[in-house]
């Protein structure tokens, strides 16, 4: 009965292999209800820091792609010029926790919760001053991302408050 045993082992291995493959979500296949793809922001995990922000409930880091970082360094948007086509910026949000290790009281990231994205493409987003908005929520328990149900979060409506800064709230922080 050796052959069936091999067959069983092979079947078990196949199932395990299939589980491993299907358990790993490819977040870059996701799209927002308004059609902005997560893959537009591929590589955001490694972008450079623009700034950070905190409320009582959320820790945030704002990062941007090289096109946008270079634009910031040339003085945009304070010099009155808009960010160039291809500029992309992400706001990454975590639920905070009190550090149990640091020798002083300090909040550090606990669970990753959301990734907000904005990209400049004037032809594609003419109605919102060239900027397209996307929001993906992260479910830490299931380790999966999902596009937010709102068409584009509050996106352009909220960012109109900073129209004079080409709709971008955060300045590049001196370091």
């Amino acid at each position: 009965m050796k052959t069936p045993m091999i067959a069983i082992v092979a079947t078990v291995l196949l199932v395990l292999g299939g589980t491993a493959i299907s358990a790993q979500q490819d977040k870059y296949t996701l799209k927002t209800p308004s059609g902005v793809a997560f893959s537009d922001f591929r590589g955001y995990e490694d972008w450079q820091v623009v700034s950070s922000a905190q409320t009582d409930e959320v820790l945030k880091v704002i990062v941007a792609n090289p096109t946008m970082i270079n634009a910031y360094k040339t003085g945009i948007p304070a010099n009155g010029k808009p960010f160039p086509e291809g500029s992309k910026i992400a706001k990454l949000q975590w639920k905070p926790k009190k550090s149990t290790e640091a020798p002083f009281a300090v909040n550090v990231p606990e669970t990753f919760t959301q990734a907000f994205f904005i990209e400049k493409n004037s032809k594609r987003f003419p109605k919102s001053a060239g900027w397209g908005y996307a929001l993906f929520n992260y479910d830490a328990k299931a380790d999966v991302f999902a596009a937010d149900a709102a068409p584009d979060d509050c996106g352009h409506t909220c960012h109109t408050a900073v129209k004079a800064k080409d709709y971008i709230f955060h300045p590049y922080q001196k370091r």
Binding site: A53, L59, A102, N107, F112, A161, H170
Partner: protein, 184 residues
Amino acid sequence: MTRKSLRTIAIVAAVLATLGSTALSAQDRYTLKVPNGLAFSEFRGYEGWQTVAISQNEKLVSVIVANPVMINAYQSGVPGNGKPFPDGAKMAKIHWDPKKNQYFPDTTVPGALHDVDFMVKDSKRFPDSAGWGYAFFRYEAASDTFRPATVADNPPQANDAKCGFACHTIAKTKDYVFTDYAKR
């Protein structure tokens, strides 16, 4: 020479003098060195390093960034997998004074730069502090200059590269590094 042309020359000279002194007074931070310790230039390029995580309390806002050697180590599972960070790993903690966001009053954002702290792994150079060297540079916004921190700063910094070792020993099981790479 007319009075007008003399005045023009005087104005041009004054402008040039002002421009010249401004250019000269701009500090080259990379010439700084902790006495008998690390040089700022050993961390050249930290402005563009990738984010490890952020932290914040009532006194300071910080972003922790690391060089590619250290980011790659984090992404391969160090230090959670029990392995130490490799030689050449470098990280920086950038501190700002907190300020209220002008658009969202419940949000705190970075204000003036406060200090930049560095760590570098070099087992041969820092055998007495588990391979890590530490440096702490205070930034003075009024004069737009950096200076090595001293025992008068908080936390007090003696003039050597071991100032961070005492505190970081709490995180010994994580190769003396407090900050975890934050999932994103």
